[in-house]
């Protein structure tokens, strides 16, 4: 057994075998068994096992560095065996042979907590990510293998191969963790016939700090949290100008709030003026009412990691009416270099096409202390 004296990582591995299958064939139901059978009858091909397999194959050469803790059958074991892993532990036995439910996912995650896995590698979509997050919260870092449907949460590698790269770096101790948005369809609105995504919280996800190799002297070697701190310091310094500041959701803006010694509503919108909290967790109407009385206002907002929406997802309180009232020149977008490097497309979807057009094109994004990057913002044509 060559060189196996080092730490053996425990990876919790789970596959949602039915993730996203229904969408392609126009199914909306969520009942496990009949759903799957109906989907297969309609010609849907299970995508996630194939994607999960790619990641596991790429990790095979590192198999002596970790052990997989998983579930029986389609929820993990089948793929592990197919790829040829000999050593793994089945923690949880599925009742049905070829489908699983959200309840199964949650039960497995409780076992992952109990067995103290180092992180969870899962294959699925937003729903799966959310089910896992409901149980493990920030306790265990989670990393998604994208299964090919819409994935708004920021815990997914861009491709199954990239997910395997992140795992490899994790095994070598070269990753750090950062907060990542868990996003899913807002069910309340969905039942009323509106499709809108909502942030459900911030999970921990492993990431590889970017060492951007610059041509000459200096390289970015600050961590994501250092970048946030630098952005917050800069924002703190310029937020002194009698403007009303509308603070969007998320951890980047939260870092600014904590610099101001203000408790931020993580998933909501807060109003600040001269570095003091005016109103917390406001809705659209409340913002518009306050704006009536204010001469100058600015919006501080950060795009959602990986998925890239600046307006229109997770920040619906900052509606097109609010944006127009504030004026597009008074929008200050902020994001860490790492988040931007992981977010290839930036989008707006305010619900007002004209406004979306005005917001698209090259925009400045504050990325550090007195530093900005220029990025193209596109229209949501998906």
């Amino acid at each position: 057994m060559a060189g196996s004296s080092s730490y053996m990582y425990k990876i919790g591995f789970l596959v949602n075998p039915i993730a996203g299958m229904g969408g392609a064939v126009g199914l909306k139901g969520t009942d496990g068994k009949s759903y799957l059978e109906e989907a297969i009858k309609r010609g849907a091909i299970p995508l996630s096992p194939r994607k999960a397999k790619v990641t596991l194959q790429k990790l095979y050469e590192y198999r002596h560095d970790f052990t997989l803790l998983t579930c029986s059958g389609v929820m993990g074991e089948n793929i592990i065996k197919e790829v040829g892993y000999k050593k793994y532990t089945v923690l949880y036995h599925l009742e049905g042979p070829n489908y699983s439910t959200a309840e199964d996912t949650k039960k497995v995650c409780n076992l992952f907590l109990e067995f103290k896995v180092d992180f969870i590698l899962f294959c699925g979509g937003d729903g799966t990510a959310r089910d896992i997050f409901t149980v493990v919260r920030e306790e265990i870092p989670i990393l998604g293998i994208p299964a090919g449907v819409k994935m708004h949460s920021a815990v997914f590698g861009i491709t199954p191969k990239i997910s395997s790269e992140i795992v490899k770096m994790f095994l070598k101790g070269k990753t750090e963790t950062q907060e990542a948005e868990i996003m899913d369809t807002d069910e309340n609105l969905y039942r009323k016939g509106r499709l809108q995504t909502k942030i459900y919280g911030y999970a921990k996800t492993p990431y590889v700090p970017t060492l951007v190799q610059a041509g000459k002297s200096i390289f970015y070697n600050e961590s994501d949290s250092e970048s946030k701190e630098n952005i917050a310091q800069f924002a703190y310094e310029f937020m002194n100008d009698d403007s009303l500041y509308i603070l969007g959701a998320g951890t980047t803006i939260e870092a600014i709030a904590s610099k101001l010694k203000i408790k931020k509503t993580l998933l909501g919108v807060d109003l600040v003026k001269n570095r003091k909290l005016i109103m917390a967790d406001v809705n659209e109407k409340e913002i518009l009412d306050v704006l009536e009385k204010e001469k100058k206002a600015k919006i501080l907002i950060s795009p959602i990691g990986a998925q890239g929406f600046i307006f229109g997802r997770g920040n619906q309180q900052i509606s097109h009416q609010v944006i127009k009232k504030v004026g597009i020149d008074n929008i200050i977008i902020l994001a860490t270099p790492y988040k931007l490097s992981k977010t290839p497309i930036l989008l707006v979807d305010t619900g007002d096409e004209e406004l979306d057009k005005k917001l698209s094109g090259y925009q400045r994004i504050i990325t550090g202390y007195r530093i900005a990057q220029r990025h193209q913002i596109g229209l949501n044509t998906a």
């Binding site: 041509g215 800069f234 007195r370």
Partner: protein, 452 residues
């Protein structure tokens, strides 16, 4: 047939450098001592620089002789060719004529040895045995290693640790020329030791490396410090370029309408343009446009303020009146590392402030786009720094195409990019980030600061 290369004979290498201080309408404001805030005196600089260079720093003589030994070394690559960029003009279909002077022919591949050789020589003459300096990724370090090698001096180079580890080729070059290169911070200096105690993993910065090299010089007998840009004597040595250029233009009976050069500390462009700016100061050729080119990521001249500021992060160097983004500003990691300096040469800043020179700033991506077009037409792959003025020249030539003007456009081609191919690779793969300096928000944040 129109001439492509305008060449001079070896015996036409200038015998004197041109000191623009002689022609300034008002004298430059003095450097201030970082501790006392009093004007710096020659004695203050003596532990750091040899006397002859201190004299040059403060001189108002118009012409300063180039020692024969230095001219003799210059003959290895000087006079450098002036090129007519015929193929680029044709590609752009412009009526403008584009010229560039090519400093990439020197052994280290840039303009930097023009001063490195002179500095090594004066130190050798005054009995100095060893020079200490800092380098980012190694342009300046390799030039000084080359210069000291020829005059048999030892050379100690503090190279920012992260580039020492990740960009080995310039380091190897320095070692070939006999220099000892250390990844900074080191345990050789108190500054370095203190930093390593606090943060053993520290990957270094130019500011730290400057402090280490300075400390090394002042604490060791027979050792002095050497700086590769910014200071008056460095700009002076670089005028060998512009004086050659004048002769070359005279030879073909041309005078430029536009001069463009990239500006990091300002030495290469000052070297090319000061003999021409001297004409302007005397009232000749008032329409000549002299434009410094800089990155939007570090827009010292276009967005900075004109004020007294420290020359380095560690606040050890003299305080100078210049355009500055603040000595605590850490520019983002653009590929043109040589342009990432928060200030600029005080002389160049003064001429800019008084309106004799202008400035423009560009994003990385359009800059590499221009440099790629240049490589595809003229063949030479230029340094990322140089690429900034290639961009300016191409933009101006395109404008001339629209107006039909037959302007004469010159740019200072300061060096090759053979060690910077990773930067071109990043550009081709769409991996280059464009940076900006959020001037409006910076101003807003400064507005209510207490005035000191």
């Amino acid at each position: 047939m129109e001439q492509i290369k305008i060449l001079l004979d070896e015996n036409e290498i200038p015998k004197q450098w041109y000191n623009i201080q002689a022609d300034l309408p008002t004298p430059p404001k003095p450097y201030l001592h970082p501790a006392t805030k009093e004007p710096v005196k020659a004695e203050d600089m003596a532990p750091v620089f040899p006397m002859e260079l201190i004299k040059q720093e403060m001189s108002t003589e118009r012409w300063i002789p180039i020692p024969e030994e230095v001219r003799d070394v210059y003959r290895l690559w000087r006079p450098t060719p002036l090129y007519r960029a015929k193929r680029l003009e044709e590609k752009l279909n412009t009526p403008a004529k584009i010229y560039y002077k090519w400093e990439g022919v020197s052994p280290p591949g840039s303009h930097k040895p023009n001063t490195a050789v002179a500095q090594a020589y004066y130190n050798m003459k005054e009995g100095v045995e060893r020079l200490a300096t800092e380098t980012g990724a190694g342009q300046w370090g390799s030039a000084l290693a080359f210069g000291t090698c020829l005059f048999d001096l030892d050379c100690t180079i503090y190279m920012v640790k992260i580039s020492y580890e990740q960009k080995p080729y310039r380091r190897i070059l320095m070692e070939i020329w006999g220099a000892e290169v250390f990844p900074s911070p080191t345990k050789r200096t108190n500054v370095g030791k203190k930093i390593l105690e606090k943060d053993p993993e520290c990957t270094g910065s130019l500011g730290i490396a400057i402090s280490e090299a300075t400390e090394d010089a002042v604490t060791h007998e027979g050792t002095k410090y050497s700086l590769g840009s910014v200071l008056n004597h460095v700009l002076l040595h670089q005028t060998v370029e512009g004086l050659e250029l004048k002769k070359q233009f005279e030879q073909i009976d041309v005078y430029p309408d536009y001069m463009f050069g990239c500006v990091g500390g300002g030495s290469n462009f000052a070297g090319q343009c000061f003999p021409f700016v001297g004409d302007k100061l005397k009232g000749e050729n008032p329409d000549l446009q002299v434009i410094s080119c800089e990155p939007t990521a570090c827009p010292t001249l276009t967005k900075g303020i004109y004020a007294y500021d420290y020359g380095d992060t560690a606040m050890l160097q003299p305080i100078a009146l210049m355009y500055t983004l603040g000595h605590d500003f850490v520019p983002p990691p653009i590929h043109a590392g040589g342009l990432r300096y928060h200030g600029d040469a005080p002389l160049l800043c003064k001429l800019t402030y008084e309106g004799y020179m202008g400035a423009v700033a560009y994003h990385q991506n359009p800059v590499f786009e221009a440099a790629t077009l240049f490589a595809q037409t003229e063949g030479f792959v230029v340094a990322p720094e140089t690429a900034h003025c290639v961009k300016a020249a191409i933009d101006e030539a395109r404008r001339c195409k629209e107006t039909g003007e037959e302007k004469i456009i010159f740019f200072a081609n300061s060096g090759h990019g053979h060690f910077d191919l990773a930067a071109y690779d990043a550009y081709h793969n769409g991996k280059l980030v464009d940076y900006e300096y959020p001037i409006d928000l910076v101003k807003q944040s400064l507005e209510k600061l207490p005035k000191i």
